[in-house]
C-alpha cells in the first residue's frame, strides 16, 4: 500500500476528507507527545496540550502553504503551546544564550534530583525528560524527530548557533548524569 506524504494527506483533508487527518495524527502523536512531555513534565497535561495542538493545526491547515515541512510547522505549534502553558503556570523559561549558563551544573543543582533519577525506570528517554526544557526539546527534535539544527532553530525561534550550543551542552549534561551515577550499563 502506498504511503501518503504529509502534503498529500493535507490536500485530501483540505478537500473535505476529514478522516484522513487520522493519518497525520497517528504519524506525529508519539513524537510530539515526547516533545510536549519534555517541556511540561506531566503526562495528563501533555496529552491535553497535544489534543489542542492537533485541533489548532487542523483549523489552520488552510493557511499551510507547504513553504516549510509540515513537521516543522506542526512542532512549532506544539512548542509554542507548551511554552505558553509553562508561562501561564508562571514558571520562568528563558530561551537563548543568556539562560544556558544557568543550566550547566545539572547534577549539582536542583534541576535534576538524584532521588528523582532513582525513582525512574531509568530509560534514557525519561532521563532526557528530566533535563531543563530547552535541552530536552533540542534533544527530542534532533534525535527523535531527526531534524537538523536549522529546522530546530525555526521551531524554537532561536539562532542556529544557539541550537548547536544547546545540543552540545545537553549531551555533556547527560554524560555527567549517566556516567557519574553509573547508569551507563543499564541505559546505553
Amino acid at each position: 500500500m502506498k504511503i501518503l506524504s504529509d502534503i498529500e494527506i493535507i490536500e485530501s483533508v483540505k478537500n473535505g476528507n476529514q478522516s484522513d487527518y487520522t493519518l497525520l495524527v497517528n504519524r506525529y502523536k508519539d513524537k510530539a507527545f515526547s516533545l510536549v512531555l519534555s517541556i511540561i513534565k506531566n503526562e495528563m497535561e501533555a496529552e491535553e496540550i497535544l489534543q489542542d495542538c492537533f485541533m489548532k493545526a487542523y483549523n489552520s491547515l488552510k493557511k499551510f502553504r507547504g513553504e516549510s515541512k509540515f513537521s516543522t510547522w506542526f512542532y512549532r505549534i506544539v512548542y509554542n503551546a507548551s511554552l505558553t502553558r509553562i508561562k501561564n503556570k508562571k514558571r520562568n523559561i528563558e530561551i537563548g544564550m543568556s539562560s544556558i549558563d544557568d543550566f550547566i551544573n545539572l547534577t549539582a543543582d536542583e534541576n535534576i534530583n538524584k532521588n528523582d533519577l532513582n525513582e525512574l525506570s531509568k530509560s534514557l528517554t525519561e532521563i532526557v525528560g528530566k533535563l531543563p526544557e530547552n535541552y530536552s526539546t533540542v534533544i527530542n527534535l534532533f534525535y527523535l524527530e531527526e531534524m537538523n539544527c536549522d529546522e530546530i532553530s525555526k521551531v524554537m525561534d532561536i539562532s542556529l548557533n544557539n541550537v548547536k550550543v544547546m545540543l552540545h551542552r545537553a549531551r555533556t549534561a547527560l554524560r555527567k548524569i549517566i556516567f557519574e551515577n553509573n547508569y551507563a550499563e543499564e541505559l546505553l
Binding site: K29, F33, Q51, T125, K164, R171, T172
Partner: protein, 175 residues
Amino acid sequence: MKYLSDEMLNKYIDNELSEEENKIIDKILKSSFVDREKYAELKKIDEGLKKMNSFKLSNNFTSNFMEKLRLKTIRDKKQKRFFSFLFLILVTVTLALSGTVLYETIAKNIGKAKEISLLKGLSFSTSFLTQNFGKFFSPDKLSLIGISLSLIFFISLYFLLEEIKKTKHRLKKIR
C-alpha cells in the same frame, strides 16, 4: 595538562570542525587517555540517543481526538447556520425599518409631489409603493413582524445553546 573541552569534542562528534582541526583532535585523542575516555562517553551518549524511543500515547488518543474533531465540526456548522440566520433577521429588520422611514417620508411629501407636474409620473409610482409599503409595514403590522422575528430568534438561540451544552458534555466525556 590541558584537556580537550566538551564543546570541542561535541563539535568533533557532529563533524563541525575543519579537516585540519579534526587531525589535531585525532592526534590528541591518540595520546591522551583522559580525552579518549571523555570522547568515548560522549560518543556513547550520542549513539544511545540515536536509539532512543519516544513516549507512547494511549491507543485511543487518535479515536478520541477524531471524535472530538467530528463533534466540533458539527457544532461549528450549527453555529455558522445560526449566525447566518441571525444576520438574515437583522437584514430583514433593517429593511423593515428603512421601509417604514421611507413610507413616512414619501407619505409626507406625496401631496407636494402631486402639485409639481414634473413629478406626476413619480407620484403615481410612489403612491403605489406607499400603499403596499403602508400595508406591510404599517406600525401595527411592524410590531407583529418584530414580535414574530424575535420569537423565532429566541427559540433558535435556545436550541443553539442547548446543542452547545450537549456537545461540551460529550467532549468532556471523550477527554
